[in-house]
Symmetry: C2
Subunit: 590 residues, 2 copies
């Protein structure tokens, strides 16, 4: 070992000990006759000191040091003259007797501090330096703890972690697969798994009863902000369970993580709301419950009074923003512009200010009494600003939900250190797509319909099918979906009907999922499960909304690793071995 | 829940309780008026019973059952008349009150028993049924425990598990990469990692100090028996360490696993031998120490007596096989044929039988006294059979080592429940390849030379370079390499010299490993590590030599998943999106 102790562990009680430390030079200072070095490693920072009367060899080395040099330092632990109560090692310093440069360092392109002066691109290129900074060290430490505690909980509940393959069969339903050409089977490709879905269901058929895995998944999507082509799931499945068992089990996991990683205890059951309620009250299937400001449908209250904008709308909805009745004309104009942005997509914004005086943008069409009726329908209080949107129901609900989040943010109600988990249940099973004139599975084709909706499921009535609810559930934290799952179809007849509804021919279903359907012939248990998005879960536990700092080596939004410069071209010889030819250059020169 | 208890947990103390179980029908028997069902789940088997006076509905369902049906059974826990002491639940049975078929099952294509009647191909196709069998359930349970205990130990030693990327840059040195075409970066490819080697070194540069990961790796090799294109490593790296620290740490891990998974305590340090010793005494760099029968070089003893076969040989070596002096002519002839097989490759076999009478195949050339000299040089005892091979040194040592293993196996000395771990150290750093007239790295290009060999390393003398020892080590268990690693090069000058010796131009090295070499500029700590082959480690702990049963969904030796039928052809549309064309069919029609 190059050290007897880490840079985070020495205390006043160690005074007098002769120690050896090793680490990186964080800072070098000279104060009068004293030379100080802050020595850093993963565990902390320890101050080294030498006065001008020290061994000249020590002083010579000290003079040669630069930021981020790797050194080994030997000396005596001494009590500090001026202690630093902010540092765990702040009571002591090491009086240097010997110092060795283990490796020099070029000047880093940005400062290795809590807040770096480097831009995002530069820090991405030198990710290994950015990772030395406190926020990233803590982010990955948190992630490690989350993984440890996740496995501890699941192991205690008899889950077995079983590794499923990464080189699998391409089954294109949902997002695009990454594919891997097979040299030994020329012309053929493996796919990288979008999730271990089929394998975990096979493990249930195989009788493993409770399966879990913290596992990498892959999706070749055009990357929206804060998505990664490879991401990590906590993937779980259980046999002989109903929905309630799954919810209890994984609510238990989230509570375990909050307690053991964050020190936060949830003693009450998580809230549960249905998908329909979530849309009606929050305009989102992943509501942020850190604040109220629920949506109210006021269609019947506002219609029939001659205001044609409302009268012709399918839906009129409102939120009451607390304490904002005093908004100026400029502020409401700005909000109106904000909701008209394409990302929100509303046509306009109606407001009512419940100040000492009541003012609204619809005074012409409604009497003061009618305005009060509207305010009552919104559960609004004096001092509130009522914001109203109207239009097609689903679209307007989503827009109003977006406005609700924005107002919550503007009022500082979306705090990183407040945690509001909840379950959203009873999702629609199917989504109709007008363009392709077919149903798509809202989750995936193995999600079972709710038992009470089986009649509708087997009917041929499009309206009835659209109403079938899935035995599916999402777990939501602070406006983010952190996990989702369902009770699966274990009955081959139901599975075949599902494929039929989705428009797969028997042959297509057989080609894509034949081995799973075949497996179901041999005694499939009732089963269900859930998968958490581990990257986001970690980010949210860290109080952050973006996942990039919680992944050691993330890709940018072109799917590139700018540090390692991947992807890259490969040798012609390798292409030939794979019987592959790129058509890209031809396209370029056209 | 479909059950109140599992099929493995009820005992006599539960008698009188009303319970609900769920699982698979293992066996159905009728004995007189009694109907028995053995109900199986992951946790065990419980006997269900109903006599002919039971509820007719129960009897009707019982009559409809077949093997592997999934059922739910309700009844009362009762003491058995005839107990089965071999089963944990053997004291009780469930008197049936209600039984429900949750899912029927087609007759499985082979029996789901400890020893199945199905052939390997059939069981591979129906892997989800094969996985129901006891040996595979136990294999994956063992693997789960190994992973849990590995993480427990490493976490207790301050290792952080950090996930490294799967979509990385192709750096072709060593085995062939699997590649992944990038749709968003047309004409470019990611590679799947053969190991996280460069990333774990970057994590050391980033100051994470101790890293571990149980991680999938990929190698596109022509598959020898018992190799898989995707396999799992316990991958570890530590900063500020010397070789001794790494050996202590991971010897500790292996001891922890033996103690906590197998209940075996190793109180002594593991044996350590150098690569040269391993070759000299065992003809292998992964010696099986479960038995002795060490090799002896007898070149100087046998040469100069006029036996030209020996006199012209670079090397003559022997083993003394205990208790086999009585081998018949037929047996020694058979052994002679055995060593001549191409897999062993010896030209012939010389033997000396140290029976009551001493007989040998070289009586013509050596006096009885000389024969006794040879026997003495072999540490042979009365009753031993001495087997002698000669030829070029390395090749003959390997052949003699293979013969040693064979004789150990024939004598039953290679027991699955005896464990002999050891370290092999001081490997050569470089291997000269005559064909390409260049050196190759014996481990990988980041392995450091031993400090005392640095002069040779920087010399331009081919002989001197060939003698440079690596600061590398393997851990070996029962004749299998279970892990290997090294102290890495952390000095850019040494790394550049290494690339130079390997014949990389500066540009090639820069292109392939530029980001790692660049990282080393900014303060790389001394570091080293080790990776275990997790699949094999699990198999050996399970007393098996083949890894296939310790992987849930393995591939065959053509890299195919015969259950899921992967790899497979993909859509033309997908090929077009990737700007790829297969040239395979054209080749076929030539």
């Amino acid at each position: 070992m190059y050290r007897t102790n880490t840079c985070g562990e020495l205390r006043l009680s160690d005074a007098g000990k002769k120690v050896t430390l090793a680490g990186w030079v964080q800072r070098i200072r000279k104060m009068g006759s004293l030379n100080f070095v802050d020595l850093r490693d993963r565990y902390g920072i320890t101050q080294l000191v030498a006065d001008d009367s020290a061994d000249p060899k020590v002083l010579e080395v000290l003079n040669s040091l630069g930021r981020e040099f790797v050194i080994q330092a030997k000396g005596i632990v001494c009590e500090r003259q001026s202690k630093n109560p902010k540092m765990p090692t702040g009571d002591i310093e090491i009086k240097l007797e010997e110092i060795v440069v283990l490796n020099s360092a070029a000047t880093p392109p940005f400062t290795i501090e809590e807040q770096s002066d480097g831009g995002e691109d530069l820090r991405a290129k030198y990710r290994y330096l950015d990772l030395r900074r406190g926020p990233l060290q803590r982010a990955l430490k948190l992630r490690h703890q989350m993984a440890i505690e996740t496995r501890k909980y699941l192991d205690s509940k008899d889950f077995m972690e079983i590794e499923t393959p990464f080189l699998i069969k391409s089954t294109p339903e949902g997002a695009r697969d990454f594919v891997v050409p097979s040299r030994m089977n020329p012309g053929e490709f493996y796919a990288l798994p979008q999730s271990p879905q089929t394998f975990k269901q096979l493990l249930m058929v195989a009788g493993f009863d409770r399966y879990c895995q913290i596992v990498r998944c892959f999706r070749d999507e055009d990357l929206r902000a804060d998505r990664q082509p490879e991401f990590t799931q906590i993937d779980c499945e259980m046999s002989f369970v109903e929905r309630e068992d799954v919810l209890q089990m994984f609510e238990g996991l989230v509570k375990h993580l909050f307690k053991n990683v964050k020190g936060i205890e949830f003693n009450e059951p998580f809230e549960r709301i249905t998908y329909d309620e979530a849309m009606n009250y929050f305009g989102s299937d992943k509501p942020d419950l850190r604040f109220g400001m629920q949506m109210h449908e006021i269609t019947s209250v506002v219609q029939g009074h001659g205001f044609s904008v409302f009268d012709s709308a399918e839906y009129v909805g409102a939120i009451a923003v607390p304490g904002c009745a005093g908004y100026s004309r400029k502020q409401t104009d700005e909000l109106t512009e904000w909701v008209k942005r394409p990302q929100v997509g509303a046509k306009g914004l109606v407001f009512i200010k419940l100040g000492d005086e009541v003012k609204s943008s619809i005074d012409k069409f409604y009497t003061p009494e009618q305005i009060q009726e509207i305010a009552k329908a919104c559960d609004a209080q004096k001092g509130d600003l009522i914001l109203i949107l109207c239009g097609p129901k689903h679209k307007t609900q989503v827009a109003l939900g977006t406005l609700r989040l924005e107002m919550g943010a503007r009022l500082g109600l979306r705090k990183g250190d407040v945690f509001k988990p909840l379950w959203v249940t009873d999702f629609p099973l199917l989504e109709w797509d007008d363009e392709t004139q077919r149903f798509y599975a809202m989750h995936h084709p193995f999600t079972s319909p709710k038992p009470e909706d089986l009649d509708k499921f087997f009917s041929n009535d499009k309206e009835a099918l659209a109403q079938v609810k899935a035995n599916a559930y999402d777990i939501v934290l602070n406006g983010n979906e952190i996990g989702g799952g369902s009770i699966r179809i274990h009955d081959r007849k139901v599975q075949e009907r599902m494929f039929e509804i989705l428009g797969f021919t028997h042959e297509q279903a057989e080609y894509r999922f034949g081995f799973l359907m075949n497996a179901f012939k041999f005694g499939a248990p009732p089963h269900g499960g859930l998968a958490f998005g581990f990257d986001r879960l970690c980010a949210l536990f860290g109080g952050q909304e973006t996942i990039r700092d919680y992944i050691a080596f993330p890709k940018n939004n072109m799917g590139r690793d700018v540090m390692a410069e991947a992807p890259s071209v490969i040798d012609d010889a390798q292409m030939d071995e794979l019987f592959l030819k790129s058509t890209y250059k031809k396209e370029e020169t056209k």
